[in-house]
């Protein structure tokens, strides 16, 4: 099958109408309300960790059990939050984003020129 640039043939007006439609705005709002705060959260959490690592080395060296100290636990905590956020996002995207995107795709496909 040969592919051409900008394959499907929805008109510009259809894209403009779809962008203004309530169902698209709903999808857009849900995506942004999830990814922006979540991005802010993990960046701040990462920044906190980096700043502690740079300036609070004594605090990071505080022993917790055996030879394991606060710094190591917070570092492993970064791994944990990364895995958790990944899982939460996938759940969210599967439930909230995919069905809405699929519905819009179907609608646009039905209105191709």
């Amino acid at each position: 099958m040969a592919t051409t640039d900008r394959q499907p043939v929805n008109t510009a007006q259809q894209f403009v109408d779809m962008q203004a439609s309530p169902e698209f705005q709903e999808l857009r709002t849900r995506l942004r309300r999830f990814v922006f705060p979540m991005t802010a959260f993990f960046l701040i959490w990462y920044a906190t960790y980096v700043l502690l690592g740079a300036f609070a080395t004594d605090f990071m060296a505080t022993p917790v059990f055996g030879n394991v100290n606060v710094g190591l636990l917070i570092g492993l905590g970064q791994f944990l939050t990364t895995f958790l956020i990944t899982g939460i996002y996938v759940r969210f995207a599967n439930r909230e984003l995919d069905p809405r995107a699929a519905a819009i795709r179907a609608e646009m496909a039905g209105t191709e020129r």
Binding site: L31, M60, T82, F83, R105
Partner: protein, 542 residues
């Protein structure tokens, strides 16, 4: 066979070469079988978009876990302890930027290159030119770091001590890479990365298990022995390090603390702007598969960095910092020496072969990305104004790949023995400054326009390069690339803390001062496409 004295090789070079040759033969067969069809641009640049999410995720891990992160991070943990661990956290958390903000939207909007997305609703030719310039710069620095690293690896693992002998090996690596790319295209390159990732992660995993078992599955015990080994080291300046807390490498002066923060910013924001990572999102059929790719990549990369934590401290405890620092590859030899300690000649051979395979897979991925960008963005869109057939683009891309390969061999030979470790960090800093702001703005900011994109991309690229030239990484320090002269006025070896915020601000200022409003129609098309996948490029079925 006993461990030989300082600056000698360990293990059996013939075994190391033999296992590596086996890897080359197997991957070559796979590449040739997988690449019967490479005629169309879609097939050559994206492998027909036919890879599944998990396959692509493994390939991303194979692309991302370069020799620098395997040998470098394990070695840094073995010698500096905690500060080596800090790198891996930046490299991992960075994937959340790709997952949440970039991967799916890129997949839905673009076709072959990063520039497809950036130029979607902006002025095509100037924006493509800027994006391609930054793609080529990032890829070249990354490529150079890998090729130069190959020289040190050769000295350590293959017992090739002469510079000319090492040059021959660098040339062989470069030629193999050219063959992979020419024969295999993106599909072949992807398979090389998948095979390498599986070998690397299982190899590191097996070593981790052996280390843990040796210490009775008690991680705290490993930490204790590592600290003990460091404290009793005789190499100057090592014994007083606290390797269980941060600060052994970056502590001390305020400048080095700021330098560390600067590096941390570049690592976390650079990944989602690396062109060879972004291009991998086009090898899957849908945005949902792009999401699954990143999930797999995060799981594999995260697991791998946890392994390197055990391996690094394990190497400190079992091999000891003195032997590591005295070995031919210096810090980079920690993982190979540990492999020899744990499993003798065979395990060392496997790990050595994996390290070479790593260099091959990464340089192949970089080369196909750079050559695609040159052919698709610069040649087809800028020079020929789009009047180029797809087969012509593939032809130009193949020629570019050969030129890049030859260039990489030449530069790699010149850089052999030079201190180019900062080049990988520099590639991340450029990707974060020159690419990420424009990617984020063009996906999420309606008002964003051509001037904003150009100011941000060129501003980020030029400021990063200028600051690095006048930094202690290039001149004026004992560890600099040119230690004999001093023209450094910028105190940090990592420019990201200045250049990345600057590029974000330039994007806003450029946009606001431009009288050209965005095109609302193109904005509508891009937003609807990026969020829903309407009209996204489909997989090719034969």
């Amino acid at each position: 066979m006993t461990l030989l004295a300082a600056t000698e090789t360990v293990g059996n070079p013939a075994a190391n070469i033999g296992i590596f040759a086996l890897f080359v033969v197997i991957t070559m067969i796979v590449v040739i079988r997988a690449s019967k069809k490479n005629a169309t641009a879609d097939e050559f640049f994206t492998g027909g978009r036919g890879f599944s999410g998990p396959q692509n995720g493994i390939a991303i891990a194979g692309d991302y876990l370069s020799a620098a992160s395997f040998l470098g991070i394990a070695g840094a943990i073995a010698v500096y302890g905690y500060d080596g661990f800090l790198y891996s956290i930046g490299f991992l958390v960075a994937w959340l930027v790709a997952l949440l903000l970039v991967a799916e939207l890129m997949r839905n909007t673009g076709r072959f290159t990063m520039a497809d997305v950036l130029s979607f609703r902006l002025s095509q030719r100037p924006v493509r030119m800027a994006a391609a310039t930054s793609t080529l710069t990032v890829s070249l620095f990354y490529l150079l770091a890998q090729m130069a690293g190959a020289g040190g690896l050769v000295a350590l693992l293959l017992d090739v001590q002469s510079k000319s002998g090492q040059s021959v090996v660098i040339a062989v690596v470069g030629l193999l890479m050219i063959v992979y790319v020419l024969v295999g295209g993106m599909k072949g390159t992807t398979w090389v990365q998948i095979i390498k990732a599986v070998l690397l992660i299982t190899g590191a995993g097996a070593m981790t298990v052996i280390v843990l078992v040796k210490f009775g599955l008690n991680f705290s015990e490993i930490l204790g022995s590592a600290q003990q080994a460091i404290s009793s080291a005789t190499t100057a300046g090592v014994a007083n390090r606290d390797v269980l807390a941060p600060g052994a490498q970056y502590g001390g002066s305020f400048t080095s603390q700021i330098n560390f923060i600067s590096l941390a910013i570049a690592l976390v924001l650079g990944t989602a702007g690396l062109p060879h990572v972004l291009m991998r999102f086009y090898t899957v059929p849908t945005a949902k598969e792009a999401r699954r790719s990143v999930v797999w990549a995060i799981a594999l990369i995260g697991a791998f960095y946890l392994f390197t934590l055990v391996l690094g401290y394990g190497a400190a405890a079992l091999v000891g910092p003195d032997r590591i620092l005295a070995a031919a590859g210096g810090v980079n030899s920690a993982a190979p020496l540990l492999a020899f300690e744990l499993g003798g000649v065979i395990l060392l051979g496997v790990i050595s072969a994996v390290a070479f395979a790593t260099i091959l897979a990464v340089v192949a991925g970089l080369t196909i990305t750079a050559s695609a960008s040159f052919a698709h963005d610069i040649y087809a869109s800028v020079l020929k104004k789009g009047q180029v057939s797809e087969s012509e683009q593939v032809r130009v891309s193949r020629i570019t790949a050969v030129v890049l390969g030859v260039l990489a061999i030449g530069l790699g030979i010149l850089a052999n023995g030079q201190n180019v470790a900062f080049l990988v960090a520099l590639a991340f800093a450029i990707a974060a400054a020159a690419n990420l702001p424009t990617i984020v703005y063009s996906l999420y900011w309606k008002r964003f326009n051509t001037r904003g994109a150009l100011w941000s991309m060129y501003g980020g690229l030029i400021s990063t390069l200028v600051l690095i030239v006048f930094s202690p990484a290039v001149s004026g320090a004992k560890t600099a690339m040119i230690p004999s002269v001093d023209f450094a006025w910028f105190p940090l070896a990592n420019p990201g803390i200045v250049s990345i915020p600057l590029a974000f601000v330039l994007g806003i200022v450029g946009t606001m001062t431009s009288k050209v409003p965005g095109d609302p129609v193109l904005d509508a098309e891009m937003e609807v496409r990026s969020l829903t996948g309407v009209g996204a490029e489909k997989a090719i079925s034969h």
